[in-house]
């Protein structure tokens, strides 16, 4: 088990290095002089020269990369061109809303999707199955922002149950945070749940057709035990994989959702940085998202061992 974990961790190192090279190249692959680009439209040659020195742009590329990577490893991603604040600090300030949104969405999704997928597989081709799959197609076909505005109109504007937009930080109390996150989370969860319900159903159908399910029935076990203890646990690996992949998509979807619901998270930071051509921040945000995705993949890989004892080593 320990060997498996260490192996997975080591496998993440080269991926991370590649991502680093890619992000570093981003600035250098852009047409024009990065220094001019960073200095902005109204800079004079002196300012450009200053920036060039400050960013070590007069050094060979390989040295520049070494300096950049060394700083990045110490969590120094440079300063924002726009606000002059350290990029790391800017990201740190925005992590809470984004992470809360993602986690709440994930929890809602799993609570909706997995039971629905199990029921659909159990009653395959029956009425419940058809209804659930129809819901899945619907959820899958609607863009997040459509669902978002629809939810806002019904539950915020009309019924006034939830705020139209905005985010209450955790320091205002967990309930306030959850209240402010309900609509955006549900909007994101509906799309995500459609995918996971489908995969759960497919994976469960396969497990229910396995000989060991016949054995479980021949043992006189109850339906719940057969479905959850025997079939769902074996069906877990594909489901957890899609939850992981879905979570990656979710983090991408956060950009849209945060705009619709005006949540000051990393998604908003990204949009703002791009419109302001604030490249150090864009670099930092991409690095952050990449690190997050690598971490999620790692967790998914490690969770395989929990579901399937044959995954070891």
């Amino acid at each position: 088990m320990l060997r498996y974990i260490v192996g997975r961790l080591l496998a993440a190192v080269p991926i991370f290095a590649l991502v680093g090279i890619f992000i570093f190249s981003l600035v250098h692959l852009m047409p024009g002089d990065p220094a001019v680009l960073l200095a902005g439209d109204n800079a004079n040659p002196k300012q450009v020269e200053k920036i060039r020195e400050r960013l070590h742009l007069d050094q060979p590329v390989i040295v520049q990369f070494g300096i950049w990577a060394g700083n990045a490893l110490q969590l120094d991603l440079g300063d924002s061109v726009y606000s002059n604040q350290p990029v790391t600090k800017l990201i740190a300030q925005r992590i809470e809303p984004t992470m809360m949104l993602a986690v709440v969405t994930l929890v809602i999704t799993v609570l909706i999707a997995v039971p629905l997928g199990v029921i659909a597989a159990w009653r395959a081709n029956g009425l419940a199955d058809r209804l659930i799959m129809a819901f899945a197609v619907l959820g899958f076909s609607l863009p997040v922002f459509v669902i978002g505005y629809l939810l806002v109109y019904v539950f915020a504007v009309r019924l006034k149950w939830f705020p139209v937009q905005g985010y209450k930080p955790l320091e205002d109390g967990v309930l306030a945070t959850l209240h402010s996150l309900t609509l955006p989370s549900v909007a994101l969860a509906l799309v995500f749940a459609a995918l996971i319900a489908r995969v759960t159903r497919a994976s469960m159908l396969e497990a229910l057709n396995e000989n060991y399910t016949r054995t479980a029935r021949a043992k006189g076990l109850g339906t719940f035990r057969i479905l959850v203890v025997h079939a769902l646990k074996s069906a877990g690996v594909p489901v957890i994989t899609v939850i992981g992949i879905g979570f990656a998509t979710l983090v991408g979807g956060v950009v849209v959702t945060e705009s619709v619901f005006n949540i000051p998270g990393i998604g908003r930071l990204t949009v703002d940085a791009i419109t302001r051509r604030d490249y150090p921040v864009v670099q930092g945000v991409i690095l952050f998202f990449s690190a997050l995705l690598i971490l999620i993949n790692l967790l998914v890989d490690l969770s395989y061992a929990l579901f399937d004892p044959r995954v070891k080593g």
């Binding site: 060991y212 006189g220 035990r225």
Partner: protein, 348 residues
């Protein structure tokens, strides 16, 4: 060779199947999978069901267990009684209490019949927890006891093992331990040795025979392998196209085969040929499609003894001798023709 093994109580039927007929339907049409199947399993006996794939052996087992597919299978008529209790048409709740508790079942493929993501200890223990309401520790103790009963070496340390860590023979032992954990009256073994190596086959057969003796249970042993039957079973039933075509104690059936199909099966055993010693005899043709109701003998088109009369509606089983019956109008001819083969002489 004694007529009846000492552990059989001829006066007591554990299971009685009467006039069981069953149809499968799908978009292609209706198939009669079982046609008027009747038999009884006595207390303590090993009854073997023999026939080719698709003859209705496994379907018979699954209808006893109430595990036929929810859609498509339809019981046309008949009754399955466990002791005095009618199982056909019983509620799912009732059947759940029968399965695993009063009837245990093991399957052909031990590689896939155990759940790969749970330990074998858990998989055995959950049966007794389900039916006996035992606590975790007591169920675990019972699981250990069962592993020792099926002679798994180092049983205590194997409780925590996963199926993929065991060999095929060991897994089938685990299946047996699981099926017998609640002391069932009846064990249904559906081709339990088919997927195993020959040496392991013999061990598993011995184990089942020993356990039958020690625990006093009855066994329905489904196989297509006559060699396995001859060494293990007390009585055998030959099935063809959803019907029982011949039924007798094993030694009587081998000594006096009285149905064209049984004769064909015996002649295709290795080492039984009288003339072409190097060539295995085979039965020409293949199992018929069951989507047309056959009034006469379903085996007639493949049978070397068949005459025009075989296509007339099938008469009831003929009594050949006590405990021995066959549904063949040419049973004497069959026996006269085959009586000088090695295999029949060996048993006569």
């Amino acid at each position: 060779m004694t007529a009846v093994s000492p552990h059989i109580d001829t006066g007591q039927n554990v299971l009685t199947v009467s006039n069981l007929s069953l149809e499968f339907s799908n978009s292609a049409g209706v198939v009669r999978a079982l046609d008027d199947v009747s038999f009884a399993v006595r207390k303590g006996e090993i009854l073997s069901l023999v026939g080719e794939s698709g003859c209705g052996k496994s379907v018979t087992a699954m209808s006893i267990m109430g595990l036929l597919p929810r859609h498509g299978a339809r019981i046309v008529s008949g009754s399955v009684r466990l002791g005095e209790q009618e199982l056909l048409g019983a509620s799912e709740r009732t059947m759940r209490r029968v399965r695993g508790d009063r009837i245990g079942m093991i399957f052909q493929d031990p590689m896939t019949s155990l759940n790969p993501v749970h330990t074998i200890g858990m998989q055995i223990a959950e049966v007794v927890r389900q039916h006996r309401g035992l606590s975790g520790a007591a169920a675990r103790a019972r699981a250990l006891e069962m592993l020792e009963l099926v002679r798994i070496p180092d049983a205590r340390n194997r409780l925590g093992a996963y199926p993929h860590e065991l060999s095929g023979g060991m897994r089938q032992r685990v299946m047996i331990a699981m099926a017998l954990a609640c002391d069932p009256e009846l064990l249904i073994a559906d081709e339990p040795t088919t997927a195993l190596d020959v040496t392991v086959q013999a061990q598993v057969l011995d184990l089942i025979a020993d356990l039958r003796q020690n625990l006093g249970m009855s066994v329905i042993f489904i196989t297509h392998d006559l060699g396995v039957v001859s060494s293990t079973a007390d009585r055998m039933m030959v099935m063809y196209a959803g019907r029982i075509v011949e039924e007798a104690p094993v030694e009587k059936l081998f000594a006096r085969p009285s149905h064209g199909y049984t004769a064909g099966l015996l002649q295709s055993l290795p080492g039984t040929q009288t003339r072409h010693r190097d060539v295995l005899a085979e039965i020409p043709g293949s199992v018929p499609r069951l989507d047309k109701v056959v009034e006469g003998c379903a085996y007639a088109p493949r049978c070397s003894f068949a005459t025009g009369a075989c296509l007339d509606p099938l008469p009831p089983p003929r009594r050949i001798e006590p405990e021995h019956s066959a549904r063949c109008i040419h049973s004497e001819t069959v026996f006269e023709t085959i009586r000088n083969t090695d295999i029949v002489r060996a048993w006569a």
